[in-house]
């Protein structure tokens, strides 16, 4: 194994609105090694790699490649420097053939300056043969399985003569046998002197394949150690070793009767046999790593997606939810994870955004009672201290925290019994965060039942009366407020559950 440092990143910082994603991070990667990056959601692994691959631009810091300082302003520069990234969300052109995808943007041409398909196919075949990948280069990309697409992306990276290949959770969507094949490929790449940076949540894989492990936490570099010196326990301690200084103010309120019971909720390939009870006054935290199926559980309960089996009982009544409209009718609200994509309607006013889910209340016979609506909106604005010049302001002009409060208002105005909140404080600043937390606590006190998905460990530990942990589409553990710890949650979240 080489000891020549191929890549050195030093002093890398990167801020997004409301969060310091990377804070003075450094990373050394030697040629001919496999270097695993680990950490919880939002620890900064993917952000750092996107800086390296020219997708994000760092606020500060320097990158050395093979001893020389390099600038990576965009991904084509990264490719030219020999840095290839295989994304978690693959980005092939589905309607093109495998060979065309392999040579996208660098198509070989014949003497008439026309694309030479024969050369493309032949060269693709040569790469596939060398790495014993069994895929016909003439096949159309979208007919391949996810694993096969992954192979094509890797082959593409190899064929660009990359010196450094970044793999972001390459095994999240492929089968055991395909993982074996992938690992064999990685080993032979390592033999040939290529450095691999391997982002993963799966600890077993790390011990199988990695030479070095770097752990990140909250945007900071925690430690870099040879994999041989680590075990599962040590790794978990490094990942969570955070002091819980700012605990969140979930007040102790009497927990009431069961409001919602979920029984055996299953959506094939996504979530499997999800059962739990939710009580009045309770905040139930749903923890797990990215892709564990938490958001999918909320969507299934709320009728956003269809389920294969299982039932939801609200206030003792089994209900059949076919659409979000039914769910709202039954007394549920869902504050979605991605505020911009599925939450706000940017070009509409604060008032419109607040009232869209509860128009029924204010429009007997379909005609809006504007004065009642305005009064209700104003009351919400004052109660939640939403900072907006007027209710007519476009919501896109508000800060993230205030947008989030408007969305909370949207659901409160439907007078729900059950409020499901997916990542309540993602992408909002610290002050607004604690306001949202106080708000949730107050709602629980009023007797609402809250189901909260969160990827932030302090939020899960601080806010939840009870914690369910998910992995691989299943619930793998349940902890009461008294017994829950970071270590226990992470342990349950990284269990390799059989695929749902």
């Amino acid at each position: 194994m080489g000891d020549e440092v191929l890549l050195r990143m030093t002093g890398i910082s990167k801020a997004f609105p409301g969060v310091q994603a990377l804070d003075d991070v450094h990373l050394d990667v030697e040629a001919g090694t496999v270097h695993a990056l680990m950490g919880e959601n939002g620890a900064g692994k993917s952000t750092l790699m996107k800086v390296l691959a020219g997708i994000y631009r760092a606020d500060s810091g320097t990158i050395f490649l093979g001893g020389a300082e390099v600038h990576v302003p965009d991904s084509s520069t990264a490719l030219r420097l020999g840095i290839a990234m295989i994304h978690q969300e693959l980005s092939p052109v589905p309607a093109m053939t495998v060979a065309e995808n392999m040579f996208l943007g660098r198509e070989p041409v014949n003497r008439f300056r026309l694309v030479d398909k024969r050369v493309m196919v032949a060269q693709s075949q040569a790469v596939f043969d060398k790495w014993s990948i069994d895929i016909n280069p003439r096949r159309v990309m979208k007919t391949l399985s996810v694993a096969q697409m992954q192979m094509v992306e890797i082959a593409k990276a190899i064929s660009t003569d990359a010196r450094l290949i970044i793999m972001d959770e390459p095994t999240s969507a492929i089968t055991e046998r395909e993982v074996e094949h992938l690992h064999r490929m990685i080993r032979s790449l390592r033999e040939s002197g290529v450095a691999i940076i391997y982002i993963t949540h799966k600890m077993d894989e790390v011990f199988k394949i990695a030479d070095f492990v770097t752990v990140f936490r909250d945007g900071r570099h925690v430690a870099t150690l040879p994999a041989a010196e680590l075990d599962r326990q040590k790794l978990i301690t490094l990942m969570v070793g955070r002091e819980l200084t700012h605990l969140f103010p979930k007040e102790d309120v009497p927990i009431g009767e069961v409001v919602m019971s979920v029984r055996g909720l299953t959506r094939r390939g996504v979530i499997s046999d999800i059962s739990f009870d939710l009580r009045r006054g309770e905040i139930l935290g749903l923890a797990g790593l990215m892709g564990a199926g938490r958001t999918e559980v909320l969507e299934a309960i709320f009728g956003v997606t269809k389920v294969d089996s299982g039932e939801v009982v609200i206030n003792g009544k089994t209900i059949h939810i076919k659409s979000p409209a039914d769910a709202i009718e039954a007394g549920m609200g869902l504050l979605t994870e991605d505020r911009k994509l599925t939450g706000i309607m940017g070009v509409l006013s604060v008032r419109d955004n607040m009232t869209i889910a509860n128009l029924n209340r204010f429009s007997p016979g379909g005609i809006l009672r504007k004065r009642q609506m305005d009064a209700a909106c104003k009351a919400q604005r004052d109660a939640l201290a939403i900072k907006t010049p007027s209710l007519a302001q476009l919501i896109k002009n508000l800060s993230g925290g205030n947008q989030q409060k408007v969305l909370v208002s949207r659901w409160l105005l439907t007078l729900p019994d059950v409020l499901m909140i997916d990542e309540p404080t993602r992408g909002i600043d610290v002050g607004a965060k604690s306001e949202i937390h106080r708000l949730m606590s107050g709602l629980a006190k009023e007797g609402k039942a809250i189901l909260m998905v969160s990827s932030e460990m302090p939020e899960i530990l601080g806010m939840s009366d009870r914690v369910l942990v998910m992995a691989g589409g299943r619930i793998t553990a349940e902890f009461s407020r008294a017994e829950v710890t970071q270590e226990k949650v992470l342990e349950a979240a990284t269990l390799v559950a059989p695929a749902a």
Binding site: A325, L348, L359, G366
Partner: protein, 335 residues
């Protein structure tokens, strides 16, 4: 802070003035056009009451279609079938009000009250519009494609129904709709005025109206908020079809006959009106008043270019330039 405060308040007034101008820019442009024409039209012909009434009369049909397509555009769709649906509605309406005994009538012996013919014309619009909406909602066909198909089909229906010939010699009671007046105001203008008012109320004071904006603002968010996307879309395109049907009735009464080619290309003027009036193709933005002013601008422009003796060939170029400039201004406004 204290030192900065007066300066800030000064810039606030300047900002709000700029906002005011930006918000009503389209109205200023319209008024500017009118002033220019008042000054430069030969013999002051632009300002003559008869000419003004003519302008509004001419835009009343385009204006109806513009209101229809505006709803579609707000909800991130489009309706290309308006002109063809208008044509089909026109020949159906006309065929039911031909004078009894007219030897070339489609139904020579027929004698129906005018309102039956009007309902038939509106029915054609409602039906074809509902089909558009159904295709878009049930089969998830892009609105551009669904209504493009309907554009061709409805035109075909119009030719089949009329055997490709003009449908003329209509009863006077029906023609009142196009040529009559109430207290000196032409009936088409009154109809347009009523539709403007009702559409405004519908968009701003009904649940359906807010759903239209919500779908354009963020379709996924609207769905999660319990908006029934399919139902709303069917209603949107049905409304658009109804406007085309009504346009067919009014236009037939105005030109006193219907040909199967009637309304060809009108959808483009309607789309242009909506867009000049600030309706955004990115969805969620558009007002009745803006669209009406957009239609007025198109009307005044056509009229003014005629009065100024600009060749029709050049008129097309000028119209195109104005549409594009309007969009550029709109883009900058939304940045």
């Amino acid at each position: 802070m204290t030192a900065a405060a007066p300066k800030a308040s000064g810039s606030v007034t300047r900002d709000s003035l700029a906002n005011f101008v930006r918000k009503y820019l389209i109205v200023f442009i319209f008024l500017g056009m009118c002033v220019l024409l008042a000054v430069f039209s030969p013999n002051n012909s632009f300002l003559k009451p008869q000419n003004m009434i003519n302008v509004v009369r001419q835009i009343s049909v385009i204006g109806l279609l513009a209101l229809g397509v505006m709803l579609c555009i707000i909800a991130m769709g489009i309706d290309l079938s308006l002109g063809s649906v208008l044509g089909f509605s026109a020949v159906v309406t006309a065929s039911l009000v031909q004078q009894q005994g007219w030897k070339e009538a489609l139904y020579p012996g027929l004698s129906l009250p005018a309102f039956v013919a009007i309902l038939a014309g509106l029915g054609v619009g409602i039906t074809l519009g509902a089909v558009n909406g159904g295709l878009i909602a049930a089969f998830k066909i892009p609105p551009f494609i669904a209504t493009l198909g309907m554009m061709t089909m409805a035109r075909g229906f119009a030719y089949i129904y009329s055997n490709g010939r003009p449908v003329s010699t209509l009863v006077p009671e029906f023609l009142w709709l196009g040529g009559g007046d109430i207290l000196g105001i032409p009936v088409p203008i009154i109809i347009f005025g009523i539709v403007i008012l009702l559409t405004h109320l519908m968009l701003n004071y009904t649940r359906f109206g807010r759903h239209v904006y919500a779908i354009g603002g963020n379709e996924t968010a609207a769905r999660v908020s319990g908006v029934n996307l399919g139902q709303t879309k069917v209603l949107i395109y049905t409304f658009s079809g109804l406007m085309a049907g009504l346009g067919g009735v009014v236009l037939t009464a105005r030109v006193q006959s219907a040909t199967p080619a009637l309304g060809m290309g009108y959808e483009l003027d309607a789309i242009a009106s909506a867009v000049i009036g600030g309706t955004s193709f990115a969805g969620g933005i558009g007002t009745v008043w803006g669209t009406v002013v957009g239609a007025l601008i198109i009307g005044v422009m056509n009229n003014g270019l005629d009065l100024l003796n600009v060749s029709p060939f050049y008129q097309q170029v000028v119209k195109g330039v104005i549409i594009i400039v309007a969009i550029i201004i709109d883009e900058r406004k939304n940045r």
